[in-house]
Amino acid sequence: MIKKWIILGILAGMGLIFFDLFSAFRGNETLGKTADYYARHGAEEVGASNIVTAIVVTYRGFDTLGEVTILFLTAAIISFVLKIRQEDILPNRPIRITSELLDSASQVIVPVIFMVGIYIFVNGHLTPGGGFPGGAVIASGVLLMILSNPNFSVSHKVIAWVESISGVGFVLLGVMGILFAGGFLDNRVLGLGDFGKLFSAGIIPFIYSFIGLKVGAELSNILGAISHAQNEKN
């Protein structure tokens, strides 16, 4: 009980810090220096109408690479921690009884979900959304597959391929930026195209697609790994 009060006391201290932070915040009337630059030049330099996408994929594309790396790391760690290897997944384990409804529904719904996911990241430079929500949507499709088809191990290889290829593709596109444009992850490897069109904004759609696939694959990996964890030989 005393401990709770101590914690509360310390949190009161944190509260004081947060209160000072709150007081330091005075709202915004105009954009800051960097934001103003992005607003003024983002569209013309990068060619993406979604400035957030322009920032995420190009201006701060390097961050995004790191972020993808984090997901990648998490998936890798989880799979080696939970010892998920192909050979650990027993091929003929007792099949869980899935409802007929879920089974048949998934056959219809999963492709639709995938399409939606792909749409979200392909159009990332035009509309809200992009690689991350798109990837998450794809992952939820995979999740549905896991739920409906217990023998998920079949698609494990596919996921690994998608994961690797999209990751390597991301890096290679970045390197192409060095070779053919201004620097690592420069999107102007291809022409900027017509503003507002699908094939515009240089390689942003491609990068975002890779990101989406990669995120989807990693998230699927994580989900798959946890779902298979029960098979670990203790």
Partner: protein, 80 residues
């Protein structure tokens, strides 16, 4: 108008957070935490951040909650 909604959602998310931390039943707590994310994505929308809102909805309230349930499920399986 937006301000009222914002206050309402803010309070709701705090209540959700409180439930998430204090509710005995872990399932309820996880769902409450997912709700907090959902409320947060509404706040993002109100703050003119549709990208963030979408991501938060898909990842924060969707996938995270799912992973929680997955793990909880595993733990319960073991406890059985």
């Amino acid at each position: 108008m937006f301000v009222v909604i914002a206050i309402f959602i803010g309070v709701a998310s705090l209540i959700g957070g409180y439930i998430a931390i204090h509710h005995e039943d872990l399932s309820v707590a996880i769902i409450a935490s997912g709700l907090v994310s959902l409320f947060a994505s509404i706040i993002f929308l109100l703050l003119a951040a549709p990208d963030v809102a979408m991501t938060e909805a898909a990842i924060g309230s969707g996938l995270t909650t799912l992973i929680f349930f997955y793990v909880l499920n595993k733990i319960r399986q073991r406890n059985d």
